[in-house]
């Protein structure tokens, strides 16, 4: 019986009474699709679309939407349908929404969630249903759950901050580095991997502090960090939190090189929010919206035209995820199939066998972790947000 959990039953009469319109649409789609002989890839996109973290979920969703619209405009054989679900940034909602997407909407692939904790909560569900799941979350444990259906279309926090710290130490010559992180899962793995990266270079953090998600005042932690006299500060995570930290660092008169601990610094909205205080900060990420880079220029331009804003790494990551799902379906003779999509993605396993997307040559290791080299960039301006690439 347990195997049947996530398989569907036909649409029930009760449901049709409750939401007649939706049933009608489903019925129309079911009856119409054979007539056009058009194959539909259903992709569920899950993330916070309302609530405090809605900005992040919307970037992700728009990246996926843009790619789907482009593909749908290019050819007629395969249609990509994006089904967006809001988890209100609550993990129990993420679980419910993931189940809904899988059992009711019969999706072929799932993109999401956004928060590491919520992504972690869904991994067992996609594993059981054998649906490929693509995520932008950076916490290390996500790909260590023994599921072959989870793919991180990005790099885990450890790979990112090894690059950042390496750059700060080797190129900039900083030696006294302090770590400030949130106390949740992703912050924890960030702090631990930063310390490891420092150890590999023969260094110790001069100070290590934590804060709780939702904190607004960091003077306690920054006070203790300042007392340790650091010359660089690597910090993560949280949108508002990091913007306020950048401001308080300046207000306390700390003279440190800011190092971005996660990909949030690559988000133009974040840079706008943090303003002057974040200028000059250095980060490693998978994607930066720089106009001069020809490989991604087309994407940045198309995204700006469609959504009137500059894309961020999350948008780019889901853009490429949709591309991979499309390529997998084409390779399967145009038939959308969750298992074949998963197998195709697992097949992207080395630089030689990679998918050339806007993020670079995308490939995954055995656990589904993204493994290509990141870009290192610097926040070059805040109004409007500008980035400078340092390693390309």
């Amino acid at each position: 019986m347990s195997k049947t959990t996530l398989q569907s039953k036909p649409e029930s009469t009760v449901w049709r009474v409750i939401v007649p319109c939706k049933a009608l649409v489903v019925a129309l789609m079911l009856s119409a699709s054979p007539a056009y002989a058009q194959k539909v890839i259903k992709i569920g996109v899950l993330g916070p679309l309302t609530g405090d973290l809605a900005y992040a979920g919307q970037f992700q969703l728009r990246g996926a939407q843009l790619r789907a619209e482009q593909i749908n405009a290019q050819q007629k054989d395969i249609k990509i349908e994006i089904i967006a679900e809001d988890d209100e940034s609550k993990c129990d909602r993420s679980v419910a929404a993931a189940r809904k997407l899988i059992s009711r909407d019969q999706i072929h692939a799932l993109l999401g969630a956004w928060q590491s904790t919520c992504t972690l909560a869904i991994v067992p569900i996609t594993k059981q249903a054998e649906i490929p799941q693509y995520t932008t979350s950076v916490a290390t444990p996500i790909t260590q759950q023994g599921s072959e259906w989870i793919f991180r279309v990005g790099l885990q926090t450890g790979k990112l901050n090894r690059e950042t710290i390496g750059y700060a130490v080797k190129t900039l010559g900083r030696k006294r580095i302090a770590i400030l992180s949130s106390s949740e899962e992703v912050g924890k793995s960030f702090a631990a991997t930063s310390e490891t990266a420092l150890k590999e270079l023969g260094l110790q953090p001069v100070a290590k502090e934590e804060y709780s998600r939702g904190d607004k005042d960091f003077s306690g932690q920054l006070g203790r960090i300042k007392a340790a006299n650091p010359d660089a500060l690597i910090f993560a995570t949280g949108f508002q939190e990091q913007a306020i930290i950048a401001r308080q660092v300046r207000e306390l008169g700390m003279n440190v090189q800011l190092l971005g601990g996660d990909t949030i610094l690559g988000n133009p909205k974040f840079v706008e929010l943090a303003g002057k205080d974040i200028e000059g900060a250095i980060l490693a990420t998978v994607f930066l919206p720089t106009d001069d880079d020809s490989s991604i220029g087309g994407f940045v331009k198309a995204y700006r035209e469609r959504f009137k804003e500059t894309p961020d790494p999350w948008a780019g990551q889901f853009y490429d995820a949709v591309s991979i799902i499309y390529e997998a379906t084409k390779a399967n003779g145009g038939n959308p199939d969750a298992k074949k999509i998963g197998a195709y993605t697992r097949g992207l396993s080395s630089p030689e066998k990679s998918y050339p997307g806007i993020l670079g040559k995308i490939y995954f290791d055995k656990t589904g972790d993204g493994s290509w080299p990141p870009v290192i960039g610097q926040v070059a301006g805040s109004n409007p947000p500008k980035y400078k690439l340092l390693n390309r």
Binding site: S2, V19, P124
Partner: protein, 641 residues
């Protein structure tokens, strides 16, 4: 830690504290004039911050002018809200809780409207608008922003003080807050006083929003400052002057504690201090004789169908059997996802009937109820993962652990209604912080995953349909037990104490013990619900047991109808299903949900427990169309109820 940093921390705490005081003054004024706890106060702070942002970026006004204009505009917003919604509810003679839940609905609407107007991403006030850099005082550098905040807040509070002391309207307000009946006789219209109160407290919230925005950025999460400030108001004993002191004290306490003890438990300090102060000073020595009787006429299904009272027992039995058969048949007609939603509805139903016992029968306002769900969920998750105990055992453990916790914290129910609300709210927040920070046991924000599916005698409840039956079975057991409980001698004692505490005492009802017991039973129900929740998602994280969830439970009980166990189930169904089945309309669903709550409170004071039979009765012709909603047709001058 140098002197410089400590001094900066104290001034920072003071600045935040003055902001708390402004918001808290709104709570205090509202409570003194109308006994209403305005749960939308935090959202009005958020609205003020957003309005201030637009004024600063679109108009050339300087920060101080924006501060004044925003206060006026937010005040106006408050007046509109009061006249359009709350006044109608007051005139319906609805229970106080209905007003409180209406403000919850208003808050939900304000938050989602802010997202629709200003977008989801947080915003920043233009650089330097609220002062920048440092000012040297006694050789120490202080943030000019902090000093500016303290100055503006102090001016606002002084203006409020002069308004109360020196103006005719201010004096009239004080008269009405002191004794609204006499004031009404003197020609001071109570409606006008309430509108004025709402206007001023909204203006204070708006002003606080403009002050807090440069520190915290502008975002929806600013609403969380509301509950925090409520704690400050409670610290100040809900006295105007006390609140003005309580805010800064709380701010400094937090800043110093965060800097020197632990930032993880910062909020626990605020709420912990509040609970201790309340327990020490606010418990009435003598029973006040109050209570919270539902003031509307409730129609039961039996009356609606025209069945005589002699056959009530048989009718109730038949009714339950009918509902049960229908509930058993449902899974044959629905898909997995719908079964999933319905299961969640049944799980929350278990907690909702428990909360109904505490609110509807014991007459206490409990806000942090989700904490008991969390305690049950964690107890159950740990019992089944770390200790590998088989299914029914963790469920029983969850019920016992949550019930005992309820017993221990039972004395909170001795506090008068709104003190009880803030004490239990604080309790809920502290529990949430423990779930987040006690990592050795709860695994922090990552939560506990891999909870096995429940299994009895080798039969596994794995699919959504199977789980539905499990939840249904447990809900029936809990429901029938509670139904028998409220019909017993004990239950009648509880109802008597709710209707007239003094009379119940005179008849020998040990009110205190009865209420504590009700709290323990309600908490045990939440524990069972939490355990089912853990099994259902096979995952537990602190996110699920937050203030928003507690408020959702409160909403279930009130929408369902106070004092009706069946109503609580209907309320649970409404609260779970509406946002879920409205997913089609995306972000509008949250707006609709908030609006529905407000409309419900405005036009259906008896809740679903009253609406459903009433509709039936009128349709079948067994009921006159105009059976009054209200028990008392004579206006109650204080309009407290």
């Amino acid at each position: 830690m140098t002197l410089e940093i400590v001094a900066q921390q104290i001034v920072g705490g003071l600045a935040l504290g003055f902001i708390y005081a402004l918001i808290a003054l709104g709570f205090t004024m509202m409570l003194r004039a109308t006994e209403l706890v305005n749960f939308a106060q935090g959202e009005l702070v958020m609205a003020g911050a957003y309005i201030g942002f637009t004024l600063l970026t679109v108009t050339p006004l300087p920060y101080v002018a924006v501060f004044v204009v925003t206060a006026a505009l937010t005040g106006l917003l408050g007046v509109v809200i009061e006249i359009a919604t709350l006044r109608i509810i007051r005139h319906n003679r609805s229970p106080l809780l209905n007003l409180i839940i209406a403000t919850v609905g208003i808050g939900i609407c304000l938050r989602i409207l802010a997202q629709m107007i200003w977008g989801a991403a947080p915003l920043r006030y233009p650089d330097g608008s609220a002062g920048d850099g440092h000012i040297l005082v006694a050789g120490l550098p202080f943030s000019s922003q902090h000093l500016m905040i303290i100055a503006l807040a102090a001016v606002a509070m002084f203006a409020l003080h002069m308004f109360f002391q020196r103006t005719l309207i201010g004096t009239a307000w004080r008269a009405a807050a002191y004794d609204s009946a006499t004031a009404e006789l003197m020609g001071i219209g109570f409606d006008k006083i309430v509108t004025l109160t709402f206007g001023i407290s909204s203006a204070l919230a708006g002003a606080a929003g403009v002050l807090i925005a440069p520190l915290f950025l502008v975002g929806q999460e600013l609403w969380l400052q509301g509950p925090k400030a409520f704690a400050a108001a409670a610290l100040g004993q809900f006295q105007i002057l006390g609140t003005m002191v309580g805010g800064p004290v709380l701010g400094v306490l937090e800043a110093v504690a965060a800097g020197h003890i632990s930032s993880s438990y910062k909020n626990a300090i605020a709420y912990g201090a509040t609970i201790i102060v309340l327990m020490l000073v606010a418990i009435p020595r003598m029973p006040a004789g109050g209570g919270m009787p539902p003031q509307h006429v409730r129609i039961t299904f039996r009356q609606a169908l025209g069945i005589s009272p002699e056959r009530a027992g048989a009718f109730n039995l038949a009714g339950i059997a009918l509902v049960l058969v229908a509930a058993m048949a449902i899974p044959f007609f629905i898909d997995d996802y719908t079964a999933n939603v319905f299961s969640l509805m049944l799980i929350y139903g278990v907690a909702a009937v428990g909360l109904q016992l505490v609110i509807g029968f014991a007459g206490a306002i409990i806000v942090g109820f989700a904490a008991f769900l969390g305690i049950g969920a964690y107890a159950s998750a740990i019992a089944s993962t770390s200790f590998g105990l088989p299914f029914p055992v963790p469920l029983v453990i969850a019920a016992v652990v949550a019930g005992v916790t309820g017993l221990i914290f039972g004395p909170m129910l001795r506090l008068p209604t709104h003190y009880c609300a803030i004490a239990t709210l604080g309790f809920g927040e502290i529990c949430h912080l423990i779930f987040v920070n006690w990592k050795e046991v709860t695994n922090g924000m990552s939560g506990i995953s891999g909870i096995p599916k429940p299994r009895i005698f080798g039969y596994e409840f794995a699919s959504d349909q199977q789980f539905y039956y499990l939840a249904l079975g447990i809900l029936v057991i809990v429901y029938v037990s509670l139904m028998r409980l409220v019909k017993s001698r004990y239950g009648r004692g509880l109802i008597a104490a709710r209707e007239n505490e003094l009379a119940a005492l005179a008849m020998g009802v040990n009110v205190r013990r009865y209420r504590t017991l009700a709290f323990a039973v309600g908490a045990a129900c939440a524990g069972i619900s939490g355990s089912l929740f853990a099994y259902f998602f096979s995952y537990v994280s602190p996110d699920s047991f937050v203030l928003v969830q507690s408020i959702a439970f409160l909403t279930m009980v009130v929408i369902g109808g106070l004092g009706s166990l069946g109503g609580a189930l209907a309320g649970a169904a409404t609260v779970v299903c509406i946002p879920e089945f409205l997913r089609v309309v995306a972000e509008f669903r949250i707006l609709l949900y908030g609006l529905l709550i407000v409309l419900f409170m405005m036009f259906l004071p008896g809740g679903l427990a009253d609406l459903a039979p009433r509709t039936f009765g009128v349709l079948l012709g067994n009921l006159r169309k105009n059976v009054p909603f209200s028990k008392r047709e004579v206006p109650d001058a204080s309009a407290n109820g």
